[in-house]
């Protein structure tokens, strides 16, 4: 196991390193400490930006201390913060993150929190997850099955596209839900998902807006800007 405290001491300001050393994962102060470090790492305001390696070291240290009994709110905070670690520092915690998933329960976390780090860090847990999603069929975009499908797409697994195609086809008469699915897919602009946006790029039906049915956006309004952006990956 990497010695994250060495990284922390080498890359974090002394007061933050001391605070990390003095704050165990199960302490109530851990959440505010974690959020503060994440905030400093990605947006410092008037302060100098924190070294990204400090955030990675802190998260690696925290991940290594997660047990199956750890409060899900702490786990959520760690997983959410892992999404903002810069590319150069990710390799230093990838293995730790993968091992963390052996100790946490999917049932304790909302699917987005559980699956997004797996996607972002390209961690393949299909062997463990496939049995849980045997014959899975997506009902809503909130389902774990939805996120599993997107996760499969992130790994280049065609089954994910099939699951998403199935639910989009079944949903397309309900334009409001279709909009929600497109907005959700836009969070993960994998190139393999592009055909779904192209499919609805001319759909001008309107969903539910703040002023009621028919006042919301159309699939065309949602898909158009996504298709024209250059951040597909």
């Amino acid at each position: 196991m990497a010695d994250y405290m060495d990284t922390i001491n080498a890359t974090c300001p002394m007061e933050i390193a001391s605070e990390i050393a003095a704050t165990p994962l199960d302490a109530p102060e851990f959440l505010s400490l974690a959020r503060g470090i994440e905030q400093k790492a990605v947006y410092a305001g008037d302060d100098p930006t924190l070294d990204p390696a400090c955030l990675a070291g802190f998260l690696g240290h925290a991940m290594s201390n997660v047990k199956s009994s750890t409060d899900p709110e702490q786990v959520k905070t760690i997983l959410s913060a892992s999404l903002v670690v810069d590319d150069a520092s990710r390799d230093s915690i990838r293995a730790e993150l993968a091992e963390l998933y052996d100790r946490i329960s999917r049932d304790d976390l909302v699917p987005r929190v559980y699956f997004y780090p797996l996607m972002d860090y390209s961690i393949d847990r299909r062997e463990q997850l496939d049995p849980q999603f045997e014959d899975a069929r997506i009902a809503t975009r909130d389902d774990p099955e939805w996120y599993y499908a997107v996760y499969l797409v992130s790994l280049g697994d065609e089954r994910g596209l099939e699951m998403l195609d199935d639910v989009l086809t079944r949903t397309e008469q309900d334009v409001h839900n279709l909009n929600g699915m497109l907005i959700s897919l836009a969070e993960t602009p994998f190139k393999a998902l592009r055909p779904f946006f192209e499919r609805y790029a001319q759909d001008e039906r309107r969903g539910i807006g703040v002023d009621g049915p028919g006042t919301g956006p159309s699939p065309k309004e949602i898909a158009g800007p996504i298709l024209s952006q250059n951040s597909w990956r």
Partner: protein, 347 residues
């Protein structure tokens, strides 16, 4: 609680009220079940009326609803009328009709208008009944939820036509959390500062179409600037560097279109925090009273009184209504009620 023992005297009725200090309770809703005929339809009028918990817990009998989180305690005030001396009040017992959801954390009371504590145990609904000598004296309804937290990215969209907004993240977070505590929701705001993008519009444009296009630009631009927006919701200031558009808040993606919901604000002055709490409500699937077309957020009797406006006469300062002016909203437009507690998205 054991059954009420045979008592020599009992109060005739018990009622509940909101404590003066907000820190001891979460949501308190005395509006949903508000009576049609004040002074006549309340379950406690007349005090001698036979009482029982109604099958329809939204019956307009004046009973209140309280919200509480799992493993949390909330407090209300309990009062008695008719034979309300300490000796008679001492004969009162309490019973939850679903103790697995919530139960009483006050074993006995010895006076009127005193604190009464309720402990949440699991997500669900129940009623707490006040009994004496086998008779129901009064009741209060409880909604319990597992406390949840939601991450939200906050940023200013800076373009040739819009400027960096002035806001204090901690104040904004505190304000929203003060309103959303009724839901047993906590928001964690993550400041991403200014995100510069090339506005697709040739001038300041707060239309839905342009806001959607801006959001699609802002997210990758933030990632490129090493301030990635990874939270499921975004509150984005798009403040005209010229004169304001007049649009205080906008949810261009639609109501409750799911995670990755976002709102825009052409407003960073007094009242903006309340507007943000309101627009966040839309992101979390809450509607205006007038636009609750499926009728699941406001009782039918309240919607029948709207008269084409977005202000419920019996609940004027509901968070999702339009009562104003803006300068008064910060302190007042903060009420959320039982059906909204149930409806709001929790992740």
């Amino acid at each position: 609680m054991p059954p009420s023992p045979a008592a020599t005297c009992c109060p005739q009725v018990s009622t509940f009220a909101k404590p003066a200090t907000q820190t001891v309770y979460f949501g308190y809703d005395d509006t949903t079940n508000q009576v049609a005929n004040a002074g006549a339809d309340e379950y406690w009028i007349p005090p001698t009326k036979a009482k029982s918990i109604p099958g329809n817990k939204e019956k307009r009998d004046g009973a209140a609803w309280v919200s509480v989180g799992k493993n949390e305690e909330t407090e209300v005030r309990i009062a008695f009328a008719g034979h309300s001396g300490a000796a008679c009040i001492g004969n009162v017992t309490f019973k939850s009709d679903n103790a697995a959801v919530a139960d009483v954390n006050t074993s006995s009371v010895s006076g009127s208008n005193v604190p009464f504590k309720i402990k949440g145990k699991s997500a669900g609904e129940c009623s707490i009944e006040v009994l004496c000598n086998g008779n129901t004296l009064g009741y209060i309804h409880v909604w319990c939820a597992s406390p949840a937290s939601i991450d939200i990215d906050v940023a200013s969209v800076v373009t040739a036509h819009s400027r960096s907004a002035s806001y204090v993240l901690a104040d904004l977070e505190s304000y929203i959390n003060n309103v959303y505590r009724d839901f047993r929701l906590t928001v964690n705001l993550k400041d991403k500062g200014d995100i510069a993008v090339k506005d697709p519009a040739s001038s300041y444009d707060s239309s839905r179409t342009n806001n959607i296009a801006l959001d699609a630009l802002v997210v990758p631009a933030a990632a490129k600037a090493k301030k990635p927006m990874t939270s499921p919701y975004r509150l984005l200031f798009y403040v005209s560097s010229g004169s304001h558009s007049g649009v205080l808040g906008r949810v261009p993606g639609g109501v409750g279109t799911g995670r990755s919901g976002y709102s825009f604000f052409d407003h960073d002055t007094n009242g903006a925090y309340n507007t943000m709490a309101h627009e966040l409500g839309h992101c979390l699937d809450l509607s205006h009273p007038l636009h609750d077309t499926d009728g699941d957020e406001f009782p039918a009797w309240q919607r029948a009184t709207l008269g084409g406006s977005n202000v419920i006469p019996a609940d004027e300062w509901n968070l999702m209504g339009y009562k104003g002016p803006v300068s008064q909203r910060g302190a007042n437009r903060i009420e959320v009620r039982y059906r909204q507690w149930k409806k709001v998205r929790r992740s």
